[in-house]
């Protein structure tokens, strides 16, 4: 049966004595996968290994059952938008995309049609006949994206695709990723903007120092970190009374009343027990409840716990 996963089996990549990634085993399923980690953590190495631009020192990589070193079959179904901000000199946006479609093996007419479609998708039709050298950073980013999606691949690998895009363009591109993901495609995105990764990813892979430190859906990852108590935010009418009641539970380790006196941030070691007994406490203290929500089940918090920086400066 044909595999639907991108698999890394105990993959290591060393460049001389420099570690790229080490003993990585992964299975990436369809949907949007966010790849996060600090600078030099190995995100780009991981993407380059998936696409055959690098060869592993050890281990095996397969993409939907195909070898990354069989470009003839692999790249019919894979598009990769790299971080390299360089283009063949003297080419226009249109010519750039169309030429590489012809190199893919499309006929002239097909290549022209696909180029036009891709340019419409990234909203670059007006600038298509201008030299890429004269494009802005955002336009260069979009033309790379157009080149990666032009042949309608089933797997889209995007290294920092939102870099240089203005807020409008970001929203449009994110919508495009969602659209592609809804079609059952793999979209793998590395980004240093954690709240955007959080917003769009179905699953995340966190990587640090060449090691994968977490993978999966963010709630699952969070629940597997018992050393970090879960935070729950409760918006209620009398947070002081509720806090003193909740402190009677063994697993509640901290309660903070918010500055507006309308909210309470609780840290608990046992989320299941906490939620079971929360209703009881609310009834006992006679609270009007506005909202109860987890406060640290997001990429940013998990990143902080696992990797240690605030996530704002990673890439």
């Amino acid at each position: 049966m044909e595999s639907r996963e991108i698999r890394f089996e105990n993959v290591s990549k060393f460049d001389g004595e420099v570690l790229g990634i080490n003993r990585v085993s992964l299975a990436i399923r369809p949907g949007i996968t966010g790849l996060v980690g600090p600078n030099g953590s190995g995100k780009t190495t991981l993407m380059n290994l998936m696409t055959g631009l690098l060869r592993p020192t050890r281990g095996k990589v397969s993409v939907l059952g195909l070898s990354p070193y069989d470009p003839e079959h692999l790249f019919r179904n894979v598009g990769y938008c790299t971080q390299f901000d360089a283009f063949p000199r003297g080419t226009t946006g249109f010519h750039f995309i169309q030429s590489f479609l012809r190199i893919h093996g499309f006929t002239g007419a097909e290549a022209t049609r696909l180029t036009e479609e891709a340019l419409i998708r990234v909203k670059l039709t007006e600038a298509a006949d201008r030299k890429i050298a004269a494009y802005s950073k955002g336009m260069r980013q979009r033309i790379k994206l157009a080149q990666a999606i032009a042949h309608n691949p089933g797997i889209l690998i995007l290294d920092e695709p939102l870099n240089g895009l203005d807020p409008m363009a970001r929203a449009e591109v994110i919508a495009l990723f969602r659209e592609l993901s809804a079609d059952g495609k793999h979209v793998i995105i590395s980004s240093h903007i954690l709240h955007e990764v959080d917003m769009i990813s179905d699953q995340v892979i966190m990587i640090n120092g060449g090691y994968v430190v977490a993978e999966g859906e963010i709630q699952d990852v969070r629940s597997e970190m018992p050393e970090h108590p879960i935070q729950v935010l409760i918006r209620c009418s009398d947070p002081g009374r509720l806090a003193s009641r909740l402190f009677q539970m063994d697993h509640v380790v901290e309660a903070k009343i918010q500055a507006d006196q309308k909210g309470l941030l609780i840290r608990t070691r046992d989320a299941d027990q906490f939620y079971l007994r929360l209703n009881e406490a609310i009834l006992e203290t006679g609270q009007d409840i506005e909202a109860v929500a987890p406060a640290d089940e997001d990429v940013h918090s998990v990143y902080q716990y696992l990797i240690g920086s605030n996530g704002g400066s990673t890439s």
Binding site: D15, N48, T51, G52, L53, L54, R55, Y69, P71, E72, H73, L74, F75, R76, V78, G79, Y80, T82, F84, A86, F87, P88, R89, G90, T91, H95, S99, F100, R102, I103, H104, G105, F106, T107, Q147, H151
Partner: protein
């Protein structure tokens, strides 16, 4: 070869490969045929034409005395000394070494590697585009130079020699040798561009080797491209006082020899490129 093998070869996606090679050639030629990208190659090809055009207006008395025989020798000297040893050689250095290493330098090679093209097909496509580019420029230059050299002798002489005499054969030989030079040197420099980060040292060694070929003993002459190319030239030239003479290679050895060398080099290049990784930071 068994019929099973033949069947397997027939089943290969030849149509797709041909379309991909066409795509690579079109893209490469469009990039490289511009004067801005290859100014020195054009300069090498156009310089002798400018000279020969000047000569149309200032013919010397000597060539009138020497007649067609003298002009034949003069063209043979220009072809061997300038076109073969210098223009085509340096043209190939410029074009073929850049085919892959230039893309690495410009950080654009990954675009090719991320298309659904076998890397061996990429080598073939890029190589053919280099051969075509050089042949269009230098083959064209040789053909025009040929006519420009004979024209001052008068149209009647040109007609007699070129169209009714052996001239056309000479012209085809020279253009053919130019084509073989592009093929032979092209393959060698393509390989160097793949193997060496800075190919200037090996290229200098080859330049030196090809340059001192006339001084080498006959058995060493055979390990050079220029020996086979000069063997195919239709008009012999007077040798210098220090030249070590050797029997020219016969046609049946020279042409298959050069084509064989090219094939071997392309196979090595194909094997090399399969293992190639993208690491622009090291350049």
């Amino acid at each position: 070869m068994s019929s099973g093998h033949v069947q397997k070869i027939k089943q290969l996606p030849w149509v797709l490969w041909i379309r991909q090679v066409q795509g690579i050639i079109l893209f490469e030629l469009r990039r490289s045929l511009t004067l801005r990208r290859s100014p020195f190659v054009y300069l090498l090809a156009l310089a002798p034409l400018a000279l020969l055009s000047l000569r149309l207006f200032f013919p010397t008395e000597q060539e009138i005395l020497d007649g067609i025989g003298g002009i034949n020798v003069m063209f043979a000297i220009i072809f061997r000394a300038f076109y073969l040893r210098l223009a085509v050689f340096f043209g190939c250095v410029g074009v073929f070494m850049r085919l892959f290493r230039g893309d690495v330098l410009e950080k654009t090679l990954h675009y090719y590697f991320l298309t659904s093209v076998r890397r061996e097909i990429l080598v073939v496509g890029k190589y053919i585009s280099g051969v075509l580019l050089n042949f269009i420029i230098f083959g064209g230059s040789v053909a025009v130079a040929f006519f420009l050299l004979y024209l001052p002798s008068g149209w009647v002489t040109v007609e007699e020699f070129v169209f009714k005499g052996p001239g056309m054969g000479h012209l085809f030989s020279y253009v053919g040798v130019t084509f073989l030079a592009c093929i032979g040197y092209g393959a060698v420099f393509l390989l160097m561009g793949l193997f060496f980060r800075n190919p200037i040292v090996p290229a200098s060694v080859i330049l030196g080797w090809e340059y001192i070929n006339f001084l080498l003993p006959p058995y060493l002459k055979k390990i050079s491209v220029i020996y086979y190319l000069e063997s195919l030239c239709p008009v012999p030239i007077p040798s210098g006082p220090v030249t070590i003479l050797a029997e020219p290679a016969p046609f049946w050895l020279a042409v298959p020899g050069l084509l064989g060398l090219t094939l071997v080099v392309l196979v090595i290049a194909g094997l090399k490129i399969r293992q190639m990784e993208i690491s622009y930071g090291e350049e």
